[in-house]
Amino acid sequence: MVWGISLAVEAGSVACLIGPNGAGKSTTLNAVIGALPVKGGQILLQGSDVTREKAHRRVRRRIALIPEGRQLWQRMTVEENLLLGAFPKNLRRSAASFLERVYTMFPRLKERRHQAAGTLSGGEQQMCAVGRGLMADPLLLMLDEPSLGLAPRIVDEIFDLVRTIAQQGVTILLAAQNANYALSVSRYGYVMESGRIALEGPSERLRADDHVRQAYLGA
């Protein structure tokens, strides 16, 4: 449950949501994609109200969520998982070219495209999840804890990846407990605590904030 949240992500920029476990970061992202109901307020995408739209319709407007724990279809192949990212009719026509783009970005996925997704390593699964999100050619890409359960070296790779995707002009909303990383890749940040936004501001300013430093950066 989250209350009285107001957040905006500027087109073409990276914003992050940081905060402890249970603060409502995932809830917020799930409400934006439409997996959780909104009791009050509005969700606007490029000015149009999507609050009452079902999740599968919002994806057509090119919002994508890369969920916590990746949520791949374990028994399906890598390629099938990726194709499901471009399932809506308006995306299907360009699925082949998106697929090529994802394979160029992740040659590893191309090598393993006929392998069941459940047999990939954790890092590869996260790549597959990111690839699936990119298949929707998103205007807004949301990542929920992309570094969860991954080795430190892979975590570096994943955050580099977020930067690369952002440079291509995709708007990104990133939720992460790893505040250090999240604030370093984002331009603007929101600190969530027990279902509310406790603090917000440009990421550089948040990094210097005493409360953030003590609670989240371990300084």
């Binding site: 994806v59 057509r60 279809w73 399906m76 099938e80 699936r132 929707a136």
Partner: protein, 326 residues
């Protein structure tokens, strides 16, 4: 990873279409052997069963929505064909008509029941099935409980029925393969494995389930229609009865749900088992089905196809092990 799990496109395995076509050819040539009328009848009934079984699997297997209510569509198909023929329609026109009636009915059933998930959906389909049977038992214009007779003013030719059944079964398998390989089929599998994740990826679970339900219902109804013309007499207990719905579900479960050939094998096996069981245990055969389902789910949820795959893996591993220099 076995080749079957990787499911490469047809282009990758052009020879994969050969065995089914050879089988179809053999079955088409089989009557040349002058089989007895009873063997032809058993084969005909098996083809009808296979069509219904393959149909059910599109919803129950591919989309993972287990329905106990397919007697509704089988019965509607049977009655549509029966009434159609008596009203002077060409029998072959009544089969697509039966399919269309059932597809429409499947929407009426699906719109409310697909709001439910898993076991709740399954239970709701039992209710729908029983309600339909009661209505049909009391419907006067089809003779109610005393049944309905089809009068055709043409000589009975058993082989015509045989080929109709064979064609229907082949059509069902073909449709099942097309669905499986299509983007629609991919969406169904996504729903089966994780409906919420599917919705987050832009799959509309409700619409896809309704679509799968309609295709499955149409095939099952066509099977009911083909059966009705052969039997020339149908009654609500026989075509709308709960055992009918259980039987349609049991075939793919025996053969292997969520596969192309499982429901075909199951349909074939079931025909034989049913004949034997009903003859030997007229009162107990439903109980025995129940035990069979429990055994399959406990020990080999993949059915016959699962058992074959497991055996193949076992043999391959043994062979590999024996090649290893010790």
């Amino acid at each position: 990873m076995s080749a079957a799990e990787r499911s490469p496109g047809l282009a990758a395995r052009p020879l994969a279409v050969l065995p089914p076509l050879i089988l179809l050819g053999l079955l088409a040539a089989l009557p040349l052997l002058n089989l007895g009328a009873n063997s032809v009848k058993v084969l005909f009934l098996t083809f009808v069963s296979i069509a219904a079984s393959v149909g059910w699997n599109i919803l129950g297997g591919f989309a993972g929505q287990v329905s106990f209510g397919f007697a509704v569509f089988y019965g509607l198909g049977a009655y549509t064909t029966a009434v159609g023929i008596n009203e002077g329609l060409n029998p072959y026109l009544t089969y697509p008509l039966a399919g269309a009636v059932a597809a429409l009915a499947s929407l009426l059933v699906g719109l409310p029941t697909f709001r439910l998930r898993g076991p709740y959906f399954a239970i709701a389909t039992i209710g729908v099935s029983e309600a339909t049977r009661v209505v049909m038992t009391n419907l006067e214009f089809t003779g109610g409980a005393s049944g309905y007779r089809i009068t055709e003013h043409v000589p009975f030719r058993q082989l015509e029925h045989y080929f109709t059944g064979l064609m229907l079964a082949a059509l069902a398998v073909g449709l099942s393969i097309i669905v499986r390989r299509s983007r629609f089929g991919l969406g169904l599998r996504a729903i089966r494995d994780d409906q919420d994740a599917a919705a987050d990826s832009g799959v509309n679970p409700y619409a896809l389930k309704l679509g799968a339900h309609a295709i499955a219902a149409a095939l099952t109804a066509a099977a009911g229609g083909v059966y009705a013309r052969y039997a020339a007499f149908i009654d609500p207990e026989g075509v709308f009865g709960f055992p009918r719905g259980v039987g349609i579900l049991l075939m793919p479960v025996i053969g292997g749900v969520n596969t192309i050939w499982g429901p075909v094998i199951g349909g074939g096996v079931y025909g034989v088992i049913e004949e034997e069981l009903v003859a030997r245990f007229p009162q107990l055969h439903l109980l025995l089905y129940g035990v069979l389902v429990m055994l399959i789910i406990l020990f080999e949820p993949g059915g016959v196809v699962g058992l074959l795959q497991r055996t193949r893996r076992f043999v391959l591993r043994r062979r590999e092990a024996s090649w290893q220099p010790s």
